[in-house]
Symmetry: C2
Amino acid sequence: MNPTPLLEASGARTATAQVHEAIKQRILDGVYRPLEFVREAAVAKELEVSRTPVREALRELVSEGWLEAIPHQGARVTEWTEKDAREVFELRLVLEPMAVGLACRHIDAATLAHLDDLASRMETLTETPLDGAGHSELASLNHEFHRLLIQASDNQRLAQILESVVRTSIIRRNFASYDRSALKRSMQHHREMLIAIGAGNAAWAENVMRAHLLAARVLHVSVDSTAASASPP
Amino acid sequence: MNPTPLLEASGARTATAQVHEAIKQRILDGVYRPLEFVREAAVAKELEVSRTPVREALRELVSEGWLEAIPHQGARVTEWTEKDAREVFELRLVLEPMAVGLACRHIDAATLAHLDDLASRMETLTETPLDGAGHSELASLNHEFHRLLIQASDNQRLAQILESVVRTSIIRRNFASYDRSALKRSMQHHREMLIAIGAGNAAWAENVMRAHLLAARVLHVSVDSTAASASPP
DNA sequence: ACTCTTACGATTGCATGCAATGTAAGAGAT
DNA sequence: ATCTCTTACATTGCATGCAATCGTAAGAGT
């Protein structure tokens, strides 16, 4: 076996890429808390690399919004405020419907089948009471469902933007706060979206997505009823 | 005076930040052409710094989409295709109306006055025939107008996304292809938006913005009439 | 007791040398 | 002539040492 297995697990990529992943994971896992500084030397020692790849990984993470850089002082985990949650939801509420709308034009049968499979597996999961592992698996499947849908929009920039916007906001947000009826409704939204997409009905799909997101919002944030909707294009 | 004034012009920031700006400017100016590799050693020698700040600047530019990294081979300027132009326009067509809609709720009198001033100066410019410098100034004012409007949306993420999406697409796109009537129409759009915002009428402002962008598109890209509009929220 | 100054420690910022890797040119065989 | 293997070179990837800078806490002065 390898004598230094600390980073080797993630394939044969560059050290910078591996450090990048490692730090991101620790942020997601809550090992590095908001406003806490991530010190170059400490990470380097812990992962058994020099400070150089750590520095480069930190700069990348700053560009992606995971950390904020303070000159001559270091990089610290970005804080997550109510305003951040609001901003992200405003964006998702516009961008995800846009994505499914575009997907209606571009999607192929194989992707649709894959989405169908994911929806089925989620439905199966929700038929029995869920433990912790079940919630985790459901969250994973759900994330994959949305990711695949967004990829099908055939707009690479949109996909990248949504990926970064959504992932930084998740931080292990799961379905623990969903009651039984909310869960079933969420699964039905997925189904309905696939039917709308299969029918090529963009408007239908977009509105189901908006309903899906708004329904989720009530469960996650203290809803401010700024329900002032935007106007039709 | 300083004996090495090559980079000192841009204030007293870090070398990395200055190299970052320098390379970005050269991409915008066309010194570095699409698909051309930007070599660490060459930039370092030219700007009289070591390879370290160059490496860090390159990584940042990759994260921002100006360059694409190829492992062990370097970073090259991203190519700009018709598909890229389409993607960016699809995004702007959704995000900029969203921004002005939000701005209707959050804007303050001072910002509105500033926007009014910018609109006036652009109108003055368009009253006489334009030379190259005039086009450049108009483009600059126009960019500032849109930037300020987007800031007024009070959604920091939206502003950052639009900034990156729009700026990488500009590459010195100016108003040279605008004829007289198109220019005047564009200026009127600005005015109308400000009036709509002043009246707090989000739907009005959003639709003017969409018209503004669609009118600009016909002048820039070979329009594909995929005028299939999205549905109302 | 409070404020301003100053010196120290910790941390990032930058330079440079060496190792790893990928590319391309050239020799040899078919 | 074409294909393959080898080898040398150019370039990035990484490690390490030193310099610049910032925060902090101790100490002098009011």
